[in-house]
Amino acid sequence: MGEQNIRKISSDEILAETINLKSAGYRLVAISCTNKDGLELSYSFDKDYDFINLRINMDYDTEIESISCIYHYAFLYENEIAELFGAKIKNIAVDFKDKLYRLSVETPFNMKKEEE
């Protein structure tokens, strides 16, 4: 498989970077989240097999804008991350308010909560 292209950006840059990629014809492939001294978000895009990842590291309490105003279908990924990790994502186009999955435990993937 191809080289891994992972570009670090700040949470404030996500909308501008996403608009640039959308304008260039990229498809949103996935949004992933990892606990890494806070939250580590990876926004993955593809165009003709050119695979690009935007990487954002942020605190659990930092709020980030939803990209569902640019890629509408991002709402599913964002709801998943908000519900599993407790990430604070603003203005999701279709916000399930932590009801996408039917979880018996609140934000089960959130490591900060477990440490507390």
Binding site: M1, V29, A30, Y71, Y73
Partner: protein, 359 residues
Amino acid sequence: MGERTVIPFGPHHPVLPEPIHLDLVLEDEKVVEAIPQIGYVHRGLEKLVEKRDFKQYTYIAERICGICSFMHGMGYCMSVESIMGIEVPERGKFLRTIWAELSRIHSHLLWLGLTADAFGFESLFMHCWRLREKVLDIFEETTGGRVIFSVCDVGGVRKDIDAETLKKIVDVLTGMDKEIHELTQVFLNDSTVKSRTVGVGVLSKEKAQELGAVGPMARASGIKMDMRTQGYAAYKHLKFEPIVTTEGDSYGRMVVRIEEIFQAIDLIKQCVELIPEGDVITKFKGNPDGEYFTRLEQPRGEVIYYVKGNGTSFLDRVRVRTPTFANIPALLEMLKNCDLADVPILILTIDPCISCTER
């Protein structure tokens, strides 16, 4: 404008093998909006990386889904191998490709059967699944399992297939080729099947791109995207072109899957001709330290395996983005303006796998 009615569809419905719920907003018999709810079978399998080491996790990955189980294990192993710089022996790569393509055949036959069942065409359903059994028999003979194989491992595969069995597989597939050809003529030419599929649930190329559709969903709308063309496993040695149609309707999605069955048979035959002698697995030491995104083409489409290791035997993260998850927005678009009676068939045409989607 007629009066609007909301009809709950699912989570339990005769046409749904797995639970998903849709709130269908109707005007008379036409769907104007569909609001999805999932989460009935969320198992938190990604969270299990905290409890199982990276070698054990191969078997967890296989259990994400019973249809693509081999490819889930393979995708996970490929990510770990990329992080650790493990080179899988060529024979191991060919064996992985053979099992992956057999999985594609059995998945598409399963889907054709379910679709026939949804039409009410019981005999066609039974013939599809009768043929699928032959693939499951091959799995059992070569791996010991019919659904979960536990044959893929980090570094390669745990079992070899001898030359005699490979020849037998080719003979079985050659026989199946003829039977599948006869069977699929019904899907392609029968007037009752065509009346339920031609021009129904059209997804244009532009919409498919805009909504991030993948797999047969995207290819039936004219998008030539197939991760196998990137040459992972043994695909770089095989000759094939992605199957693409341009209609974008339910019939087109059926055509793509039918053609992919024949393509998979051809790919397996190419593998049997080209497979080299040698080891099937590479021994290694150490733990993964780093991260990798692997992309594969499952029967339902592109799947992503993100693995992040920290140098210990326990991983920081395994993330799987499955094709059904990516195709849900396209499904919601297709449902707009369709007749209520077509909803079950349209849901089936994305070949939904909810176990994969929710993990």
